[in-house]
């Protein structure tokens, strides 16, 4: 039996077991685990060891291990003792942790008018500080070197706009002023180029 089959079989066995557990039992187990994790976090947050915490609540360390295993059914009085020892209101033990935000960004992306005109070729870009970048395009099949398209990209004159492709641009909505020197910003500096898409990253 290959590994894939084994895994499938294990999953189906697990699913079958989970189906037999009632929603109420699942919830009880989850809540016990969450409560134990919360108490564990508070103990660690106060720089206590299990032994140190055990002496605070007048219990043996083995009892603390059972409490933190996530299987213990706490009584109201025990929770009160724990909250007193940890110097937190009782309700703090039931408070859900706020999600920890680790990424936040706001930026803009433009898509051009020439999506369906792939035969057009860029003729060059003109840097206009008040407007942004104006791109000129022409059709290589046309006899004269006439401009067949103009695309103005507003808000382009900020340090952290980057070209993603010939048809789209991306950058932050506001000028970014880092508190400390950010080496990546240098990478985002741009210059007008005669025969390019006007921005070089």
């Amino acid at each position: 039996m290959n590994k894939e089959h084994q895994k499938e079989e294990q999953t189906s066995v697990l699913d079958a077991i989970l189906e037999r557990i009632s929603l109420s039992d699942q919830r009880k187990t989850e809540d016990r685990m969450l409560l134990a994790a919360k108490i564990d976090d508070l103990i660690k947050g106060r720089g206590l060891t299990k032994t140190g915490f055990a002496s605070l609540v007048g219990q043996r360390p083995s009892v603390i291990s059972k409490w933190l295993s996530g299987t213990h059914n706490f009584t109201q009085d025990t929770l009160t003792e724990i909250s007193l020892a940890l110097d937190v209101p009782l309700m703090e033990l039931f408070k859900k942790k706020e999600p920890e935000l680790f990424f936040k960004a706001e930026f803009s992306v433009g898509s051009g008018v020439f999506m369906s005109h792939s035969h057009l070729r860029p003729l060059g870009g003109l840097l206009e500080p008040a407007l942004g970048i104006t791109h000129y395009w022409h059709d290589p099949n046309s006899p004269a070197l006439a401009v067949t398209g103009i695309l103005s990209v507003p808000q382009h004159i900020i340090p952290d706009w980057v070209v993603l492709s010939s048809m789209s641009w991306a950058g932050n909505n506001a000028v970014y002023y880092p508190k400390k020197k950010d080496p990546t910003l240098e990478r985002h500096s741009h210059t007008a180029e005669e025969d390019n898409y006007a921005i070089k990253v």
Binding site: E100, F102, F107
Partner: protein
């Protein structure tokens, strides 16, 4: 799906997609025929209680900056996390998310949003408002302080 040499013990999978909000301003959208401006808001967090990543992605579409809103879509992506205990914490007790995982989450969220937008816009005046391909490693500055 995210196991790499860098993060051998952390894995996650997309468990849920919630469309939190959608609107389309049809009178304005019917006038739009040229390029589109997409304002994108992306927030990613870890829920330690439920051991999962939550990524919120909001997209607003206009023809140009300061023009009326043509449409907006807000989507929440929930990723179940395997190996949560392997995430390291900083001195403040906040989990440190490896950059490669941040990048993967952002990329998945943006590309899924592109598909959802396309499905919503198909056959409408915004049929051609396709969210451009975005190199998530290059696009923006993380505003969350270390």
């Amino acid at each position: 799906m995210s196991k790499t040499k860098e993060n051998p013990n952390i894995d996650f999978h997309l468990a849920q997609i919630e469309e939190v909000g959608f609107s389309m301003n049809l009178p304005e959208a019917s006038k739009a025929s040229a390029g589109f401006q997409f304002n994108i808001f992306l927030e990613a967090g870890v829920n330690p209680d439920k051991r999962r990543f939550v990524v919120d992605n909001r997209v607003e579409i206009r023809t140009e900056v300061n023009e009326p809103l043509l449409a907006h879509l807000i989507v929440r992506y929930i990723f179940d996390l395997v190996g949560f205990e392997n995430l390291k914490k900083n001195k403040k007790g906040v989990h440190i998310i490896p950059p490669s995982i941040q990048l993967a989450l952002n990329t998945i969220a943006l590309s899924t949003t592109r598909g959802l937008l396309f499905a919503r816009f198909k056959g409408t005046p915004l049929h051609n408002a396709i969210l451009p391909l975005i190199d998530a490693s290059n696009f923006s500055v993380n505003e969350v302080e270390d």
